[in-house]
Amino acid sequence: MTDARAPAPAPRRPNAILRRRRRELALGAALLAALAALPWFISDVYTQNLLILVLLYAGLSQAWNVLGGYCGQVSLGHALYFGLGGYTSTMLLLDLGLPPVFGMVAGGLVGGVGALLVGWPCFRLSGHYYAVATVVVGEIGYLLFINWDFVGGASGLTVPIAGRSWLYLQFGVSKLPWIYVTLGFAAAAWTVAYLVEGSRWGYSWRAVKDDVTAARSLAVRVFPSKMAAAAISGFLTGVGGAIYAQYVGYIDPDSILAGSFSILIALPAVLGGVGTLWGPLLGSAVLIPVSELSRSYLGSSGSGVDLMIYGGLIVAVSLARPAGLVSLFGTRGLAGGRGRG
């Protein structure tokens, strides 16, 4: 910070973009410190669980944001990469005894490769054709896993108990370590998005998002750009899936591969602010508590009121804040260069 006071070496106008990026980084570090301290003030399990879910979905939707937001490819099939990550780490633990800390990386790699394999045929499609194709690919994954006995079929897999250990990401009944695991995940996803935003890739992706033809005329290689975004997005989503599997201790196709997860992963980013650094976290911080609280207070009777509130909120926020909740703070990020209206 003292450097900022030093006289500039050249009489150039200070670079607004660099200044903003430095500010984003400082904000990120401050928020990380605050969130790291927060668990000491939260003792009840319900709130701890809520915080874990908020952080997990913040990371997941940031992962989605890399492909869907920055690169503009609206994927509605991210549950596949999420499920691949969860299944990979769980299978490696069950069959080879590989600790989930490593299984997580393997899960991410499988998720990334999965995203590349899906991207190969699907990136030829544009707009709604692409979105629908990703829905279908996700459904195919779900159906195949339900019928695949090697991975437990419809009855799913249970994560074996391995005692309390960071290596195995098992902490008995304590939820406190999980807050740090998910915080680490969310922070990692944020950092990736931050680095991407300022990189050459980030600019290529936003060019592809805004106008494919124009991007191509500027020598942006469109297909490789999309594939790179997909790989990073799939990797992070796979890691998130592995963390989720380890956290809940049991996975089956319905709990980890269902199409509804694809939407759950995308929603925080969309409502928070698509293609922005803070959108996914902000969206997750609003959406997950509303969904969880309405479910636990109104959903237990099965009356459907919780779904009405949740759905109504999505409609209201989408219509009232089309650029996302982030626009409330006037933070447009680098992506929303054109801003609102």
Partner: protein, 290 residues
């Protein structure tokens, strides 16, 4: 064996007609204004509950309720357009995603509302004129409700075709071609859009009414049909009626033959695989406009 295959082919085609009609409503709305309605399955679900409720209250056969439900759904479609879609189309930024997630939020809301009003259990109507009857076509035995549903869906397609010949239909087509130019020749675009949503929803209402004569009804019944509808529309080409019909029949056929050849639980894998194969070679679907 041949009888078995023949049976699978005919019942697949009959189911395909329903898929086609559900997809037609989706395709019509898309072709008109580039909006994919992610609440389409829930509209199907609502029309089935409308049949259930009216049947319970009036003790009238589901078939007689067909025009009533279609009319109710028409009103519902217009209301959805006026209240939500018109607003979603007028946002300043991020229009594509706002449209997706507004209809998606609506879908969740409608599912919750149905659960609130009717409860979550599975129900069915099995005391109609058509119920529990079969027709024999040579070696093939078909449940009468499915045959009737297929026929009604064909009629509905004929109706859609006839509609495109009317003044309104031509205005619809003109708006689809160029939504800005039509304003110059005195067509109220907003009204045409609302009308398109009405027709799209009414089409789903017809499919839902026929479906309710032989299929269970529950708040989540729309989910499965919605995914099939998206596949059908993308396979046939967004915006193409003929494409929806052809793709619907193809999907129904592939589904029923996959169930016969592999396992019933894998029946959808076949149709999804066909869809992906076609899309890789024809990114705009079978009949899509480039």
């Amino acid at each position: 064996m041949t009888a078995l295959v023949l049976q699978a082919v005919v019942s697949g085609l009959l189911m395909g007609l329903i898929y086609a009609l559900v997809a037609a409503g989706l395709s019509l709305i898309f072709g008109l204004m580039d909006v994919v309605n992610f609440a389409h399955g829930e509209m199907l679900m609502l029309s089935m509950f409308a049949v259930l409720a009216l049947h319970g209250a009036l003790h009238v056969d589901a078939l007689l309720l067909l025009p009533v439900v279609a009319l109710i759904m028409f009103g519902g479609g217009v209301a959805v357009y006026r209240l939500l879609i018109a607003r979603a189309l007028s946002v300043a930024s991020n229009r594509g995603m706002v449209q997706i997630f507004v209809t998606f939020g609506l879908a969740i809301f409608l599912r919750g509302a149905a659960q609130f009003a009717f409860g979550g259990e599975f129900r069915s109507i099995n005391d109609g004129w058509l119920s529990n009857r079969t027709v024999a076509l040579g070696p093939v035995f078909l449940p009468l409700p499915q045959v009737a549903a297929g026929l009604v869906c064909l009629l509905a397609f004929a109706g859609l075709l006839a509609l495109s010949r009317t003044e309104f239909g031509r205005a619809l087509e003109a708006t689809r071609e160029d939504r800005d130019a039509v304003a110059l020749i005195g067509i109220d675009r907003d009204r045409i859009f609302a009308f398109g949503w009405g027709i799209g929803a009414a089409t789903v209402g017809v499919a839902g009414t026929m479906l309710s004569t032989f299929y269970y009804v529950s708040p989540s019944v729309g989910l499965n049909f919605a995914v099939i509808a998206y596949v059908t529309v993308a396979l046939g080409g967004f915006g193409s009626m003929l494409g929806a019909l052809a793709a619907g029949l193809l999907i129904g056929l592939v589904e029923s033959l996959t169930a016969l050849a592999l396992e019933p639980s894998l029946k959808q894998v076949g149709m999804f695989a066909v869809y992906l194969l076609v899309l890789v070679s024809r990114p705009r679907g079978l009949f899509g406009k480039i």
